[in-house]
């Protein structure tokens, strides 16, 4: 067997960094289906997983890939898949099953331009609301947005840790540009990588209740074959996991699957500030757009405009508090994203009416250049 953590300096793409991050996090099962611009993740793990005792399988479609990932997770393996827009749409029903059955796994969406087949080889950030609400019904989800290959590595580990800790599918909302760009990626020694595993059941097997929450609201999870005789269903179920088709059980189940996220926002949400201390105008961005926004902040500062950047690393649950706090003291906000205004809706909601918030959007197929952002900034404020 080869090492699962390739400690050292590498010059690799975001997609490959994501794959290595998964292995470092302990991922040992990947089911996928080829799709630009996420294919390189599958190609890399196809080679690497058998080297570290894991399993790769290319399924017949993305629906099957997502189903296999859930099955493998219940067999006790940290599992993942990677896709882009069209495949993400196909995965949605089983992502919903993962949410309802509280199944840890990671789903990477290297976003390309839509709708439909769109611009398959060109980046966009158009699936951000689909990440939030793409499966049917109401739920909470965790989605992270890496801005660089290095972050593709680290956030994939974070995604696995969150999925294991909170027992749900965690989404990595990358984009074609970050997925395909190559940069230096530092992989730390094995010992320095902290990984989490799902809470494990203790006590008598015959009294075990599959969804009885622990102290942080998350229930311990056994694996198939351990003798717990669990029943797992996508129907509304009680703490034992049995279907109980009543409004009361629905209420209890929803309280559990939304509560475990809502009660742990502090542990889940990550943002990063850049030149925010004295900022009067704040750019809010994520993924590749946060990189161009960062350059725009420097450009604006050079011209005497007190700009700053709040980079959203966690997209869902939405970082409401940091934005609300900034809204109390700054003159205006500008959301920068490669869509026609998705996260901007959330920004507007948090900012309220007192402070202006404008959008610098883009329909997809190109990045938003720092000059463009700076011009828009000058015009708006």
């Amino acid at each position: 067997m080869k090492a699962s953590v390739l400690t050292g300096q590498h010059y690799i793409s975001g997609d490959v960094a994501c794959a290595e991050g998964a292995l470092a996090a302990g991922c040992r099962f990947f089911a996928g289906y080829p799709i630009t611009p996420a294919t390189e993740i599958a190609e890399h793990v196809a080679k690497r997983l058998p080297e570290v005792g894991g399993t790769f399988i290319q399924m017949e479609d993305e629906i099957a890939a997502m189903a296999a990932v859930l099955g493998a997770s219940w067999a006790g393996k940290k599992s993942m898949t990677a896709t882009s827009g069209p495949g993400f749409s196909l995965m949605m029903e089983n992502i919903g099953l993962g949410i309802c059955t509280e199944t840890p796994c990671v789903v990477v969406n290297v976003q390309r331009t839509g709708p439909s087949t769109g611009l398959p080889t060109m980046g966009a950030q158009g699936d951000m609301m689909q990440a939030r609400w793409g499966a049917h019904g109401h739920y909470e989800i965790i989605a992270l947005a890496p801005s660089s290959p290095q972050e593709m590595f680290y956030l994939t580990i974070t995604a696995f840790n969150l999925s294991e800790t909170y027992r749900l599918p965690v989404l990595i909302m990358s984009d074609e540009i970050v997925g395909h760009m190559s940069e230096r990626v530092t992989i730390p020694p094995f010992k320095e990588i902290s990984t989490s595993s799902r809470p494990r059941p203790k006590g008598r097997k015959d009294r075990f209740k599959l969804y009885k929450p622990g102290p942080n609201g998350v229930a311990p999870m056994p694996s198939v074959g351990e003798g717990f005789r669990i029943h797992v269903t996508g129907l509304t179920h009680d703490e034992k996991g049995y279907p109980v088709l009543t409004a009361e059980t629905q209420e209890e189940m929803m309280a559990r699957i939304t509560g475990k996220i809502r009660k742990n926002l502090g542990d889940i949400i990550q943002t990063e500030g850049y030149r925010l201390d004295d900022a009067e105008v704040v750019l809010i961005s994520y993924g590749v757009s946060a990189r161009t926004s960062l350059a725009a902040v420097d450009l604006a500062r050079k011209h005497g405009v007190k700009a700053g950047l709040l980079r959203l690393i966690t997209i869902w649950p939405f970082p409401e508090d940091p934005i609300r706090r900034l809204a109390e003291r700054v003159k205006g906000f500008m959301t920068v994203e490669i869509n026609m205004g998705q996260i901007h809706l959330e920004v507007q909601r948090c900012v309220g009416r007192k402070t202006p918030a404008v959008l610098v959007g883009h329909p997809g197929g190109a990045i938003i250049s720092p000059d463009h952002v700076y011009e828009a900034l000058k015009e708006a404020f």
Binding site: F29, G71, S223, G227
Partner: protein
């Protein structure tokens, strides 16, 4: 285990109680439905196979037959419509020790899930697929299925079915299944024997079980449950080893039953280990 089993036996006297989630009974199946019979034959096979129940897992999709996973007292999964097989593929590949049974219906496995079935058979994933074929979508009130006979009436073929049905054993065979059988719910011993053989066999096994749905299919096609059983008795011909391309369901010429295919071929995992882990 044995002690627990005999205790269960003492309590209610039925040897399969230990494999049933008694706290989930009564089940939802209608009077006269055949699914329960197929299900209990399957439980018998699990027991007689000698496989440790801890290592047996049942996966179902959606539909009347899809509720089976909810009644079996094993690790069990009631998944999304059509996706039991890929879910089971993930389970099996991630933990090869497991004996994976997919118990579901014809609509689930051959219409919405048809793509997964042919690919799991092609890959020869080691699992046992039991397909209860009741010729229509029972759960949703009796719509046309990929198995509905020509001219048969369903709620979505009010003038009779203009389409041609699939022959399920033929598809399973053509896709690469290493074990293929067809029985009716009258053939409980044969079902149990086939399921046991399939469980103990390495490879993709497919067992079709013809079953009455008196409430929907039967009612619209003037066939009571008893009449369906009569057809199963009078019009079936057991032809073990018959070529799957010749096993149509034709009440005029006869309904061919039997164990059609039982061959060996390396499984998905065996090939993966051999080719991908060779270095």
């Amino acid at each position: 285990m044995t002690e627990k089993r005999s205790k269960a036996k003492e309590r209610s006297g039925h040897p399969l109680d230990d494999l049933l989630r008694e706290d989930r009974i009564p089940h939802i199946w209608c009077p006269g439905c055949g699914i329960g019979t197929a299900f209990s034959s399957c439980l018998k096979a699990i027991r007689s196979s000698g496989v440790e129940p801890k290592n047996v897992v049942m996966v179902s999709g959606i539909g009347c037959s899809g509720r089976a996973a909810g009644y079996v007292n094993l690790d069990s999964f009631h998944t999304t419509h059509g996706r039991a097989i890929p879910f089971a593929t993930g389970l099996k590949l991630a933990n090869p020790v497991l004996h994976v049974i997919v118990f579901s219906g014809d609509g689930d496995l051959f219409a919405i899930g048809g793509n997964h079935l042919i690919h799991a058979a092609r890959r020869n994933v080691d699992m046992t697929v039991i397909c209860v074929n009741n010729f229509n979508y029972g759960m949703t009130g009796g719509q046309v299925a990929a198995t509905t006979p020509k001219s048969a009436r369903t709620t979505t073929t009010p003038f009779g079915n203009p389409e041609t049905p699939f022959s399920l054993p033929h598809i399973a065979y053509a896709s690469g299944a290493t074990y293929v059988a067809r029985w009716t719910i009258l053939h409980t011993r044969e079902i149990a024997k086939s399921v046991e053989e399939a469980l103990l066999k390495k490879g993709f096994s497919f067992i079709e079980v013809l079953s009455p749905c008196p409430v929907n299919y039967g009612r619209r096609n003037r066939e009571s449950s008893l009449e369906t059983l009569k057809i199963y008795q009078d019009k079936t011909i057991i032809k073990n080893g018959a070529h799957p391309s010749s096993v149509d369901i034709d009440p005029e010429k006869g309904i061919i039953l039997g164990k059609f295919i039982d061959v060996d071929r390396p499984t998905c995992k065996e090939m993966y280990d051999k080719i991908c882990r060779s270095e």
